[in-house]
């Protein structure tokens, strides 16, 4: 557990020293989500209808933006080798890196989403549901994305390949996440969507760090 926390602290400190990477993803999210109301014009009913999908897709793309860099710096400067040779299990260290990625990329999106949701005229209950669905969904985006980032590590043109690989895997998260918000604003039950999202998250928390670790070991060989 100490190793996990050390990996989290290290990545957070590094991100604070090099803020542009974190801020880019957050600004991207804000701008993309703001372009839609500006482009579509003031039609409250339409905006309210597209809000869940637009905000979720924006969050998804913002997560994707920083993924190629998740392991790249550590891979290029040899830190990943040192992690693989550490007496601590590599999967724990990698889980720490994924947790740090969520803290730096996913959590800001969760906190910002309700503010952006106001532009679409979402009511308070839907804004709350948006935050809740993102709270369950963004860790999933980090976990699945980390596996994709590990698989494309060191591959030429890895960034594009990563998007092609990861975006289809994001579809279930998008459907249930955006679906929960849409159901809430339509006055329908949301338990089904949230349960499935939570089930996916539980599955990913268990498997994604191992899959990521296995992929990283192959990349290191």
């Amino acid at each position: 557990m100490n190793a996990l926390m050390a990996a989290v602290r290290r990545d957070v400190l590094l991100a604070l020293r090099r803020r542009t990477d974190v801020l880019t993803a957050i600004f991207f999210f804000v701008i993309v989500a703001s372009l839609f109301p500006l482009g579509i014009g003031p039609e409250p009913a339409l905006l309210k209808k597209i809000a869940p999908g637009v905000l979720w897709v924006a969050a998804l793309l913002a997560t994707l933006l920083g993924l190629p860099r998740l392991f790249q710096a550590d891979y290029l400067d040899g830190t990943l080798e040192q992690m693989a040779l550490s007496p601590s299990p590599l999967a724990l260290l990698i889980a720490g890196k994924i947790l740090a990625h969520w803290l730096l990329c996913g959590l800001p999106l969760v906190l910002l989403a309700p503010v952006l949701g106001l532009q679409f005229g979402l009511d308070a209950a839907s804004l709350g549901m948006l935050s809740l669905s993102l709270l369950l969904g963004t860790p999933l985006l980090s976990l699945i994305g980390a596996t994709g980032a590990a698989l494309t590590l060191g591959v030429r043109g890895g960034g594009v390949l990563l998007a092609v690989l990861v975006l289809p895997l994001y579809i279930p998260t998008l459907i249930f996440g955006a679906g929960a918000v849409a159901a809430q604003s339509a006055g329908l039950g949301v338990e089904g969507h949230l349960s499935l999202l939570a089930a996916l998250l539980a599955l990913a928390v268990f498997f994604a760090p191992w899959a990521t670790t296995a992929a990283l070991r192959i990349a290191l060989e």
Binding site: R10, E81, E221
Partner: protein
């Protein structure tokens, strides 16, 4: 005691080396020599377990290690192993002390700040311990990495081209560190293109 038996490695279609065997006891060191591309780094990566061997086995104190095993014996080996590769493995954004602290934390070992400061001082980085590594020169960066030889206790040192980018003072210092390590019963495997005047050495030509 580190033993390797009948190691073989190939890269793609090309056979780099085959049937490499050696054994090192406490206080002995192995100088891996060979021209560029002969497979020195590949052999070292094989030894530490970063890549699997095509054939052969590596044993540490009688137990089978190597090839990314997750057995308790392999974890014990990693606890006693220090590998410094081609890459600096130091973070440009962090200062020297932070780099050493996080290296220790990732290894799950306690960090002794006094010891780390003493190590940096011995490597001639006194007064630069709180500068980001980014502003240091290539040789100084290398020295930050070498400070791990002093802060991390390990029985087996595996150093890949450790003498690169070092000035003559640092080369002598690294020689002294190796001497102390071997005198204390440690083992070392290193690659280098220059002759090393150290006792107990063996040469493996690839």
């Amino acid at each position: 005691m580190l033993t390797a038996a009948h190691l073989a490695c190939s890269r793609g279609e090309r056979r780099l080396f085959a049937d490499i065997s050696f054994s090192l006891a406490a206080g002995e060191w192995l100088h891996v020599q060979g021209e560029n591309g002969a497979g020195k780094t590949s052999l070292l990566r094989l030894l530490v377990g970063l890549s699997p061997a095509d054939a052969g086995e590596i044993r540490w104190r009688g137990a089978l290690v190597g090839g990314m095993k997750t057995t308790p014996e392999a974890a014990d080996f990693r606890r006693e192993l220090l590998y410094l590769g081609h890459h600096a493995a130091v973070k440009d954004e962090l200062d020297a002390l932070e780099n050493l602290r996080f290296s220790a934390a990732i290894d799950g070992l306690p960090f002794d700040q006094v010891k780390a400061l003493a190590a940096l001082q011995r490597l001639g980085l006194r007064g630069r311990e709180s500068l980001p590594v980014r502003v240091l020169s290539a040789g100084q960066k290398r020295r930050v990495l070498l400070a791990r030889l002093l802060t991390r206790t390990a029985a087996v040192w595996v150093l890949d081209e450790a003498f690169n980018a070092l000035d003559s003072g640092a080369v002598q210092l690294l020689g002294a560190l190796l001497n102390e390590h071997l005198a204390a019963g440690g083992l070392a495997v290193l690659t280098s293109h220059q002759p090393l005047p150290l006792p107990g050495g063996r040469v493996l030509a690839l």
